[in-house]
Symmetry: C2
C-alpha cells in the first residue's frame, strides 16, 4: 500500500501546497487536514498553536504517512521542532523552503518578509535565513489585514489594492529585491502585491517551494511514489464541511473526498 | 573539524556550482576537483566516464566529505547510481535538481533540454522528469558547439549569437515554456540563449538549483555547517594549474588554494 503525504493547515490556505504537490508530483497520495473550526492561528498564543498542531498530527498519524508537511507559517514558526521530536518521519515546514528560495533569488542580500502577527513575532524567518547565510539582511512586516481579504474572496477590488498599498508602505523605503509571502493565504494576493512592490522585487511563494523540497527529500530518501495509477486524496476539516468542500474543489479543480472531524470527541492516540 | 562538501566536474564548468554554494551557504567548506586533463566528458563512452568519476570520488573521499556533488551533467547521467552504491554519504547530481525546477516552472507541461551529446543520448533528463511527473512532455537537443564557445570565453560575439540561433532552431517549433540548460557550461551563454528563445521561455540553470537542493538535504539531515568563521576552500585539478587558477579566481572573485593532481601516479584506495 502506498504511504501518503500528510499536509496540515489552520484552514484552507494549505490547499495551495496540495495543489502544488498534485501538479509537481501527481503520483503522490495526499491526506489533508484543515483546522477550519479554529482558524486563524496567526493571533493565537504559541502554546495554543503547538497544542492544536500536535492534536492534528496525532490524528494524521493513523494513516501512516511517510512525511508530514506543516503548510501553515504560524504553526511552522512555533511547532515544527516539537513535531519533529514527536514523530520518526520527515517533517517539513514552509519556512525553510521559502527562506532557501529567497537566498537563491536575492542579489542585493536584502530580503523582505510579510506574514501574520504570530509569524513575524516569532522571528522564525529571520532565524532560518541567517542560519543559512548570516550575511542576509531582513526586513519583516506583519500584515494582519491580508488574511481577511482572502477569506472574503476579495482578491482584486479597489479596496484590496488600497489596503495592500498602505500596508506595504514601510517596505517601499527598503532596497529589497526579494519578498517572501510568509503566509499560505498571500499567494492569492500575489498579483496586487507584485503591482505595489514593482517589477524589481521577486515574490517567493512558499507553496510551490515547499512542494519542491518535499520532492527532493522523498527522492533522496528513496521514497517517491512509483505506481502508475493516480492516487485518491483524502481531506479532513474541523469546521463547516460544505464551505471547505466548495473552496477545495474550486482551487484544486476536481471533486474531493471530505470527512468532517469533530474535535469535541476524545482525541486518538 | 568541519566536514567539507566535495564537488567534482570534468573541468571548470562545475565552478558555477561552487560559486552558488559560496553564495547560498557561505559557511560550508568546499573541496573541488576539476578533471581538466581529461575534459570534455561529453563525447566519451559511458564506461570511461564512469571510471573517471569513480577515480575522482576515490581521491576526494580522503577528505571525509559529508556529501558529494557531481557537478557535471554527463557524469551525473551515466555515473550517479554507481557512485551512490559506492559511498555511504549523500550523492547529489545536477539532473534531478534541474528537473525538479523545470517541473515547478512549467505551465504548459512541455520542457526542453539542451546538453552535450552524452547527456542527451543517455536520456537521463527525460527519465528524471517522467519519474517525477509522467505527464511532462520533453524535447531534447544536443548542442555540441556550445562548450567550445564557452571554453574560448566567447560569450557574446556575433558568431556566438549565430551559432546559438541556428543550433536552437529545432526547439523554436515546439511550444515549450521552460528550457533546462543541461550542461554546467551553458549558464555562461544564458543571455544569448534567452534572447534566441524569447521571453516566454524560462531558463533553468542547474548550478543554483543544485546548490539549493544540497542546502535542503544538509538541513533535513542536520548537517548544515554552524561555526561562525568562514571556511577555506580547496581546489584540485588534473590539467594545467595556471589556467585553472586564472579561471577559478576570475569566476569566484577570490584567491584560491589549488593543488595540481597528476593522474599517472597510482590511485589512492
Amino acid at each position: 500500500m502506498q504511504r501518503p503525504i500528510a499536509i496540515l493547515d489552520s484552514g484552507v490556505g494549505g490547499l495551495t501546497v496540495v495543489r502544488e504537490v498534485m501538479r509537481q508530483l501527481p503520483r503522490e497520495k495526499v491526506i489533508y487536514f484543515g483546522d477550519t473550526a479554529r482558524t486563524p492561528y496567526g493571533p493565537r498564543p504559541a502554546e495554543e498553536v503547538v497544542r492544536f498542531t500536535d492534536e492534528i498530527v496525532t490524528y494524521l498519524m493513523q494513516f501512516k504517512p511517510k512525511m508530514i508537511i506543516i503548510a501553515c507559517n504560524t504553526a511552522t514558526a512555533v511547532a515544527l521542532e516539537h513535531i519533529r521530536s514527536r514523530v520518526d518521519i520527515p517533517v517539513v515546514g514552509v519556512i525553510n523552503p521559502g527562506s532557501r528560495a529567497a537566498i537563491k533569488s536575492t542579489k542585493s542580500g536584502i530580503v523582505g518578509i510579510i506574514g501574520t502577527i504570530g509569524t513575524v513575532r516569532s522571528q522564525a524567518y529571520e532565524e532560518a535565513l541567517k542560519r543559512l547565510n548570516p550575511n542576509i539582511h531582513v526586513a519583516s512586516l506583519a500584515c494582519p489585514l491580508f488574511v481577511p481579504l482572502v477569506e472574503q474572496g476579495n482578491f482584486r477590488s479597489e479596496q484590496t489594492f488600497e489596503t495592500i498599498r498602505s500596508s506595504l508602505e514601510p517596505l517601499k523605503e527598503i532596497p529589497l529585491d526579494t519578498l517572501i509571502l510568509g503566509c499560505t493565504h498571500y499567494p492569492f494576493l500575489a498579483d496586487t502585491i507584485g503591482e505595489v512592490m514593482g517589477p524589481g522585487v521577486k515574490l517567493i511563494s512558499s507553496d510551490s517551494e515547499t512542494a519542491r523540497e518535499m520532492s527532493a527529500i522523498l527522492q533522496e530518501t528513496g521514497k517517491l511514489a512509483a505506481q502508475p495509477e493516480l492516487p485518491v486524496h483524502q481531506f479532513f476539516c474541523s469546521g463547516d464541511p460544505r464551505l471547505f468542500k466548495r473552496i477545495a474543489q474550486q482551487w484544486l479543480g476536481e471533486q474531493i473526498e471530505l470527512t468532517p472531524v469533530v474535535w469535541q470527541i476524545p482525541q486518538i492516540g
